[in-house]
Symmetry: C2
Subunit: 217 residues, 2 copies
Amino acid sequence: MVRLWHTAVVPRTESMSPMSRVELPVVGEPAPERADASRNRQKILEAARRLFAQRGLAEVTMETVAREAGVGKGTVFRRFGDRGALLEALLDEQERELQERLLRGPPPLGPGAPTRDRLTAFLDALLDLWEQHGKLVLASETSAPGARYRTGAYAAWHQHTMLLLAECRPDADASLDAHLLLAALDAQLLTHLREEAAVDRERLARGLRELATRLSA
Amino acid sequence: MVRLWHTAVVPRTESMSPMSRVELPVVGEPAPERADASRNRQKILEAARRLFAQRGLAEVTMETVAREAGVGKGTVFRRFGDRGALLEALLDEQERELQERLLRGPPPLGPGAPTRDRLTAFLDALLDLWEQHGKLVLASETSAPGARYRTGAYAAWHQHTMLLLAECRPDADASLDAHLLLAALDAQLLTHLREEAAVDRERLARGLRELATRLSA
DNA sequence: CGGGAAAACGGACCGTTGGTCCGGATCGCG
DNA sequence: CGCGATCCGGACCAACGGTCCGTTTTCCCG
């Protein structure tokens, strides 16, 4: 099952708006969201973000989110389908910005810099992103194993990494290598390294750069 | 909280056996398991293994395991504490054998072969291991995020990898590199690659060998 | 502006599942 | 054999994700 990329933009409306006079079941835009619906979507996202920020992970139930948002539990589920999807929506929101910078931002993240530099800059940025909402990623992974890999965001990271790698080494199995490289940014691993193994950010970044260099040389 | 490595060997007995005459609260061996207890532990492990083999992952509840083992639910929990621990025990059982081969088996896995070869042989073996009970690993990861990294088995893999890497490149941050390399064997990633991205075993193995080579050169 | 159908709301309700508890059966040592 | 320690088992509990449906809100159209 392929999930829509930007859940915030394409709501899961139950039915299509019946086109005025023509009977063709046009597969165009889904019916726009009603005012109260989109208001509540915002409230829910905000509440969820807030709660996840303070209490971590599994401590936040769907009902809590509903209460914090001042909304019924049913509403939360209708808007987001299930817990996993809510978490995904939350992540998505934050990850879109990085994607924007990748495609159209200034070098070295955006186009223009040497490929090698873009790659390390990208990994750095991903690491930053994880610092910010690693908890969230972690939580999302518990509800549905492997969910991360089915995300639009992951697909984008992978695509980007693959292209950069392929440019450095046209002979390589760039797609696979990209996956293996991104594995180093697994939320569980990073959490473990930071919290149990006491690896600081700088050391981690160095290790990642080294890894990327060796993979692209 | 550090969990005992071999759950199967050191049962979680509720109390210590009061030492015969000396009053010192000696912290030695815990009381040995009673006959019925250890018999049931076996029955439970077997049942769990069987069930996980056919039905996958989340389809198996603790109660199912209990019934299949012909045992009360309470017994399962008393023996293993919680779901995560049961899964860990199951994994542990299978992983010990590989550890044995690493330490005392024939080359190239065991001592004797060139370091580089031992490393790739090891990764190959890990991949094999995952083929066999990847489902199990996946399931265990859902119940407690990051559990894998707190396992004795993971510590062993890491230790082994680190030593081999350090031997190849004494200047490297071997510990960190070992973690990053092992990340490529993450259960979720492997599952994704095999099932969604249709990467076959051979290609995967090649990729891993390549990665290892580049990290140790 | 008013009315009515479509859509959304909300919270009571349900089923499942991990985990606990305790009266009674078992074990094993002396 | 006898008796305390240990373990058994399944009824029981609480929590949580998810559903349902009577009520309210929206918004389109005349």
